[in-house]
């Protein structure tokens, strides 16, 4: 109960209700990746614009639960302005953290840090991961 409250309290609900960088652009200079979580219907698209190894823009669109949608919004805020190398390290660490795997705690995950609470809810790890996995795919695709 308290776990759940902690999980929802901080950033998650704020981003769920007021998503940042939401809406896709019909701009071919963006790399677009679409991921679905077939078991629950979460459906997220991430758009990333990379220039000179910098993430110059990152956008999201989709539907799903609060954890899924908010983590997409947090992702975009975290990534804009990062170098692709840094972005990769952060995303990789984030995905390990939520999956309760060993990760490098010294790396600053900024707002995304709060998703550590998801570890108490193994069934929700997927919800917290799909936007970030889509972003990783976008980096790989580039």
């Amino acid at each position: 109960m308290e776990n759940l409250e902690n999980l929802y309290r901080e950033v998650i609900l704020e981003h769920y209700k007021n998503p940042r960088n939401k809406g896709l652009l019909p701009d071919p200079s963006y790399v677009t990746v679409h991921i679905k979580n077939p078991s629950c219907g979460d459906d997220i698209t991430i758009q990333t614009k990379i220039k000179d190894n910098q993430i110059v823009d990152c956008r999201h669109e989709g539907k799903g639960c609060s954890i899924c949608c908010s983590s997409a919004s947090v992702l975009t805020e975290t990534m804009i302005g990062k170098s692709t190398d840094k972005a990769k390290i952060i995303a990789d660490n984030y995905l390990k953290m939520v999956a309760n795997k060993i990760y490098d705690e010294k790396i600053d995950l900024e707002e995304a840090e709060v998703y550590i609470g998801v570890r108490q809810f193994p069934a929700r790890v997927k919800c917290a991961s799909i936007a970030w996995q889509a972003f990783m795919q976008a980096l790989a695709k580039k």
Binding site: M1, L4, Y8, L13, G41, C65, I67, R124, C127
Partner: protein, 402 residues
């Protein structure tokens, strides 16, 4: 204290604090089934239809005895009972074997938006591969398949009618006997998905006159990994196996081979023997108890729970008139997955998502929903815990600002 004469048989709920309201996904297993599976694994562990030693003989006996029990249970003969991996594999077998061979361009296959993906996708695949047309029975305003709506799509082109007996999301009972009669008048074959029906009502294939009927062991107190395809002998005989390999053949030559008679030609390789034996014991359980009394109890639980849940502001129920133990609902403004974590924290096990029935979600115009399924081993105390958790969930999500 309320008495529930069945509950003590289910260690999963008597040995811990768990409000299990997800029996429509998988039922709990009684001690007798657990023991039957263990007996095979612990004492026999031998393959069937092959060895001549005592353990192999007993394993074969128990496996084939289950086939007889299943046949008696649904009023068929053992030759009409094919063991499969589950309802999904059973329905795929009909579509891949009978369907791909006998359906032609211009033929029509009737399905509905209430279908579980296991009943829908095998026929969608047949339609795509053969050029046949998939035709949907229009659902009525509650989301039910009605006889009149079925008649509106039945035609001289109808070759297959593949429908669910009971919807796994809304819990409605399809008027399947009437539909089968109408379909046969057009010489269409009928494939009934009884995965949700077999554990809620007596099913008699001779009265229904269906051509095929499928169900899973794990929803009717049996183990996972085993299910049943019932098929009329005249169809099973003409159908080709979709898997070939060990045990299903009579005579193997260098360039051809002959199959055993049905049902054996459909059971290639080593089958889930322990699970099959467990299913036999699950059927014993049904035979030893009064299914009508069990279902009466489920309906009382459902009525009580529905009445209480309906009173809670901020809840939408999608199947108010359902006649079986399901309540499909959402907390307004809260995604089903967010809600289900709350229930999980309170040891209330519900299912959240699209329930392998995306067309039902689309018909309801929602992304996902929660489903509570009540079964005979549930108690009014379980229902009260669920009702309280629902009330508190509404408050919780309201407080959190959803």
């Amino acid at each position: 204290m309320e008495q529930n004469i069945w509950r003590a048989d289910f260690p999963q709920i008597t040995e811990k604090d768990m409000i299990y309201l997800d029996s429509a996904a998988s039922s709990l297993k009684p001690n007798s089934v657990i023991m039957a599976v263990t007996h095979y694994d612990h004492d026999l562990s031998a393959n069937i239809h092959r060895g001549v030693y005592k353990e192999a003989y007993e394993a074969t006996f128990l496996y084939e005895e289950t086939r007889e029990k299943v046949a008696r249970f649904i009023n068929a003969i053992p030759e009409e009972i094919v063991f499969t991996r589950g309802a999904t594999a059973a329905l795929n077998l009909v579509a891949l074997s009978y369907g791909l061979k006998n359906i032609h361009p211009g033929d029509e296959i009737i399905v509905s938006e209430l279908e579980h993906h296991s009943s829908l996708l095998p026929w969608q695949n047949v339609a795509l591969k053969t050029g046949a047309k998939l035709v949907y029975v229009p659902l009525d305003s509650e989301g039910r398949i009605t006889i009149a709506n079925f008649e509106s799509v039945l035609s001289d082109h109808t070759k297959v009618v593949a429908l669910t007996y009971i919807s796994n999301v809304l819990g409605y009972i399809t008027p399947i006997a009437e539909i089968i009669t109408l379909a046969h008048a057009k010489k269409a074959i009928t494939v009934i998905d009884a995965a949700q029906a077999i554990e809620h009502m007596p099913v008699d294939v001779k009265t229904l006159k269906c051509d095929f009927l499928a169900f899973s062991g794990h929803k009717m107190l049996g183990p996972t990994g085993i299910g049943i395809l019932y098929g009329k002998q005249e169809y099973l005989e003409i159908m080709e196996p979709i898997e070939v390999g060990g045990d299903m053949n009579d005579n193997v030559n260098k360039y051809d081979a002959e199959w055993k008679d049905s049902p054996y030609k459909f059971e290639a390789g080593t089958m889930p023997i322990a699970s099959a034996i467990g299913l036999g014991t699950a059927i014993d359980y049904w035979q030893e108890h009064n299914i009508m009394a069990m279902e009466d109890h489920v309906r009382r639980l459902r009525k009580y729970t529905y009445t209480q849940i309906k009173k809670i502001p901020g809840i939408t129920i999608y199947n108010p008139t359902s006649e079986t133990g399901l309540i499909a609902f959402n907390i307004d403004g809260v995604h089903a997955h967010d809600a289900s974590s709350y229930f999980a924290e309170h040891n209330v096990c519900l299912r959240a998502g699209h329930h392998c029935a995306q067309l039902v979600m689309k018909w309801l115009n929602i992304e996902a929903c929660l489903r509570a399924s009540l079964f005979f081993y549930n108690t009014f105390a379980d229902c009260d815990r669920f009702i309280d958790a629902t009330k508190n969930a509404v408050k919780f999500f309201h407080k959190m600002g959803f």
